[in-house]
């Protein structure tokens, strides 16, 4: 049980400031990136009119997410935002699945990963809002319904980052803690594989989809 909350850290001091690197998380993120690159190469290799099985998988996947983006944002924004939505989903879902394999851990279990993805989505959504409405109309929304509500509106917007990133983090972290504690209680007999299937694969997929949909919804609120 001792390894609950233990983190391998590399602390580098530059100009009097401590920079902390969570080595395990960085390594696991690289594993995810490598796996995604491999998947991309496999899907696009030897493309043809008669698709091979990997190509069919890729086309189905991409088509599904283009459709979702079109439903949420409308036709004119599909080309621009669908690649982002696709890649966010692929990255998060693979990160969540990674804990299924022994000795690998989910990068999303560390708050830094969901938080940086959340901030990325937030910045993109607001940039999209300013681009489509113009800065004046964008800034005006913060003074609705009355001008002194401005601070609360800003906090409400910032709370979206917290809500999207803590949701992913809490679910994945919670799942892995439950698996750890139950394995410890029942000496890893019988139960853990079912828990891993439920929390690792099922909940991991749903939460990745929720994360992606919320990123999309945040963009669509700003754009329209």
């Amino acid at each position: 049980m001792g390894d609950l909350g233990r983190i391998n850290q590399l602390i580098v001091t530059i100009g009097g400031q401590n920079l902390t690197f969570n080595l395990q998380v960085i390594l696991m993120t690289w594993v995810v990136i490598a796996a995604l690159l491999f998947f991309g190469v496999m899907v696009t290799r030897r493309r043809g009119m008669l698709p091979h099985s990997m190509q069919v998988l890729g086309e189905l996947f991409v088509g599904q997410f283009y459709q979702l983006t079109e439903d949420a944002l409308g036709k004119e924004y599909v080309e621009k935002y669908a690649p982002l939505i696709c890649s966010v989903f692929m990255f998060v879902v693979l990160s969540n699945w990674l804990g299924v394999f022994p000795h690998l851990e989910e990068p999303t279990k560390d708050l830094n990963t969901p938080l940086s993805l959340g901030i990325m989505g937030f910045v993109i959504a607001h940039y999209a809002g300013i681009r489509s409405k113009g800065f004046k109309a964008y800034a005006k929304e913060y003074f609705q319904p009355v001008f002194f509500m401005m601070p609360l509106n800003v906090i409400g917007e910032l709370a979206k980052i917290i809500s999207i990133s803590f949701r992913l983090f809490g679910n994945i972290m919670g799942g892995s803690i439950i698996i750890l504690v139950v394995s410890y209680l029942c000496y890893s007999i019988v139960l853990p594989p079912f828990l891993i299937a439920f929390f690792g694969i099922f909940v991991g997929t749903i939460q990745a989809f929720v994360f992606t949909m919320l990123t999309l919804v945040y963009i669509s609120i700003q754009v329209k």
Partner: protein
């Protein structure tokens, strides 16, 4: 009072905490399962030929609804039998906080995850051809509905296993109890609300099976927004658990931290329920009026955001209590 030593207080807190965790944790799941069973009866009386399918679906739905109570059972057993290690008064507060967090946290998710189970049973009697779609949607909905209970479990486990003995006793005890209350109470509304959304989606799919994809998507977004108050509770809990508070002899500092937990905790119940209502009717009507799905989702999100503002006020008050007072 003085004749109790720290060891005895730790045991007292562990036993009381275990009792609270399992006692409160038993409320929600039982209500949810009863609701599932009652709608299953209705479904069988409508379509007796399908009693086998409905029975199977009822049991699966009840098994998922039970998980919040099982979390509470795990925490209660750990509290009763775990070797607590260091015997300090802070540990006693942490154990009590763990019990409160898991006990309250299991109520909402337990009741809520009964709704999709019941509506799926009813839907099977109406649309036997779509049994597998309904069961899948029910499983997704009730799994997402467990999220607030999982948050409470995370807080409970951190309180159980983290070593707080280095922190000064005086404000820290209140911070730890407050951390338990914050996530635990805030999870009630979110769990219940998420269940309402999931129930509405099963009902909608039974009306119009072609709308399954859209209904599930809107349900997931609605549930996710309904869970935001529980996430605010989790955030306040994390701040209360991991911030280092300077030692103080004044009681009001401790009470401010306890109040911070109570504010976000109670403040999250209403918004969670309200957001769940908004999501429930949105998914119901998406199924009946598929072409208007984008507009319905927009209205749902705006309504939820307004209803959520009270949870944000509660969180602002908590943060002021923690950082300013």
């Amino acid at each position: 009072m003085m004749e109790f030593d720290a060891q005895a207080w730790v045991k007292v807190a562990a036993f009381v905490g275990g009792g609270i965790a399992m006692g409160l944790g038993a409320i929600g799941a039982a209500i949810g399962e009863g609701y599932t069973a009652s709608l299953a009866n209705l479904a069988v009386s409508r379509n007796p030929k399908l009693s086998g399918d409905i029975f199977k679906n009822m049991l699966v739905g009840q098994a998922v609804a039970e998980s919040a109570s099982i979390f509470a059972l795990v925490v209660a057993i750990l509290l009763l039998f775990m070797n607590t290690g260091d015997a300090t008064l802070i540990k006693a507060a942490a154990l009590l906080g763990a019990g409160l967090s898991m006990g309250f946290g299991a109520v909402g998710s337990g009741v809520g995850s009964g709704f999709p189970g019941g509506q799926a049973c009813l839907g099977i009697s109406r649309q036997p051809a779509n049994t597998s779609r309904l069961t899948t949607n029910m499983l997704i909905g009730s799994a997402v509905c467990q999220t607030p209970a999982i948050f409470s479990l995370v807080v409970a486990f951190i309180l159980l296993f983290m070593d707080f003995s280095a922190a000064p006793l005086n404000p820290t005890w209140a911070a730890l109890v407050g951390a338990g209350l914050s996530t635990g109470l805030a999870a009630i509304g979110s769990g219940y609300g998420g269940g309402m959304a999931a129930g509405g989606s099963c009902e909608g799919i039974a009306r119009q099976p072609e709308a399954t994809g859209n209904v599930t998507t809107v349900m997931l977004v609605g549930q996710a927004v309904a869970q935001t108050p529980a996430i605010f509770g989790l955030l306040v809990s994390f701040i209360l658990m991991f911030k280092v508070f300077p030692e103080t002899t004044q009681l009001q500092t401790s009470m401010a931290l306890l109040g911070a937990g109570l504010s976000t905790g109670f403040g999250g119940i209403g918004p969670g329920l309200g957001n769940g209502m908004a999501a429930e009717s949105a998914v119901c009507w998406v199924a009946r009026n598929l072409p208007s799905a984008p507009e319905l989702m927009r209205i749902m999100l705006v309504g939820q955001a307004v209803s959520q503002s009270t949870a944000i006020y509660a969180m602002v008050v908590s943060l002021v209590l923690i950082f300013v007072v």
